[in-house]
């Protein structure tokens, strides 16, 4: 009988191991001879698994092997998968960088589109921008500026490392002084 018991424990182990879903006591009973009690087998298997890297646990209506909790932490590999800022967030950040301190209304004016709270929140959460007081006009709108984290993210020593706006935006912000009679180039 002991030898048989060993066989049944092996069978239960293999069944629980290979099953995609937790193995119910009923499924195990169906696999065992009538005179063998599934519960006994499971208890014995559980006892034998003690101190191993995996343990037999009851999940819902069935049984499943799981990694021992004290090892799970050591097994966890952290994969760094950097995210990309959405275009709207990137543009908003750029406007804040070059125009800071700047109000939301000003950002909207420059982009020619309304700015969602979600975009501001995303930039705040990424520690790229911070509030920088209020503009002293009616409504006292919040002013936004970049953080040291912004400098770190973009590998800048200071904001003066950013190219001048005039060097960036050439044709659209052309000076108005040039006479229309003079050919552009």
């Amino acid at each position: 009988m002991t030898e048989d018991l060993d066989q049944y424990i092996r069978l239960a182990e293999a069944l629980i191991f290979a099953s995609a879903e937790p193995t119910t006591q009923r499924a195990l009973t169906a696999l065992l001879p009538e005179d063998v009690d599934a519960d006994t087998i499971l208890r014995e298997l559980q006892k034998r698994s003690e101190g191993r890297g995996i343990e037999l646990v009851q999940v819902g209506l069935g049984w499943q092997f799981r990694t021992a909790p004290d090892l799970a932490g050591r097994l966890t590999r952290t994969i760094s998968r950097p995210r990309r800022l959405p275009r709207v967030a990137m543009e908003t950040l750029a406007i804040i960088a070059w125009h800071q301190p700047v109000t939301r209304a000003q950002i909207e004016e420059i982009r020619g589109a309304s700015l969602s709270q979600a975009t501001l929140d995303a930039l705040l959460e990424a520690s790229l921008i911070k509030s920088a007081g209020h503009r002293d006009v009616p409504g006292r709108p919040a002013l936004w500026a970049t953080t040291p984290g912004f400098l770190a993210q973009f590998g800048l020593n200071s904001l003066s490392d950013l190219p001048k706006r005039a060097d960036l935006v050439l044709e659209t912000v052309a000076p108005i002084t040039a006479a229309s009679t003079i050919p552009a180039d």
């Binding site: 950097p82 995210r83 960088a97 020619g112 659209t172």
Partner: protein, 246 residues
């Protein structure tokens, strides 16, 4: 290979993958090492099977008949005296046939060896409910300075494009422009006309600039005798007329 009934013969032929398959089966029936089988006996058995099959099924597949034709040739040469060069050639061909049969036999054994292995997913099973111990850290950002610059330029460009920016019409004239305008419109101006009427209504600095260049232009034209100029008193309007006008 027995030939008790034509039907069983057809069935047994169809059970073979091809002529080589049948030949291997016939060779095995000789119950000797494949390297020492009697090719001649094999050929005769094959031809007997094909002949029996052909009697009842003329549309027998071409490759069976091609093999039969080749084996008939082989048999005729194998029957020649050993010293005949054609017999030697046939001997080589027979060896090659034996070698092919041996290789097919080996690959059968190989397939059987593979089939006897405990097969994953059929005999043995991997973990049914794998655990995921990989955490994903998405806190870092992919964003570099060039991307930031591009974003700024795009934002500004799109922002200004939306307002449909149009540069202010500028009215600073050069003297050359004033000369052109004066000569072009002089004919249509009857009599003495004030200088201001030779450029559109402007204000402030633009008016003064236009007046200055038009005055210079009128002096130039008057010097050449193309127009006449007159000012009745200091700071009164300067009048222009065509030389033909009285």
């Amino acid at each position: 290979m027995t030939t008790e009934s034509p039907d069983s013969l057809i069935l047994s032929l169809e059970g073979f993958e091809g002529p080589l398959d049948l030949l291997l089966d016939l060779a095995r029936a000789q119950k000797v090492d494949l390297a020492r089988i009697s090719i001649l006996a094999l050929v005769e058995q094959y031809l007997a099977v094909i002949e029996g099959a052909a009697r009842i099924r003329l549309e027998l597949a071409a490759d069976w008949l091609v093999m039969a034709a080749w084996l008939t040739w082989l048999k005729s040469r194998l029957l020649l005296p050993a010293e005949d060069p054609e017999a030697a050639e046939a001997g080589q061909s027979a060896e090659l046939l034996a070698a092919r049969l041996a290789e097919l036999e080996r690959m059968r054994a190989a397939a059987a060896w593979l089939s006897a292995r405990p097969l994953l997913g059929i005999d043995v099973f991997p973990r049914g409910a794998p655990e995921e111990h990989t955490a994903t850290d998405r806190s870092r950002l992919v964003a570099d300075l060039p991307a930031l610059l591009r974003a700024y330029v795009e934002a500004v460009r799109r922002g200004t494009a939306r307002v449909t920016y149009q540069p202010r019409q500028l009215s600073f004239w050069t003297v050359q422009d004033a000369i052109k305008r004066l000569t072009a419109t002089l004919g249509s101006m009857p009599g003495w006309t004030t200088l201001e009427r030779f450029f559109p209504a402007l204000s402030g600095q633009e008016h003064r600039a236009a007046l200055a260049s038009t005055l210079l232009a009128s002096l130039e034209l008057a010097r050449n005798g193309q127009i006449r100029l007159r000012q009745d008193s200091p700071f009164s309007p300067i009048l222009v007329a065509s030389p033909r006008d009285p």
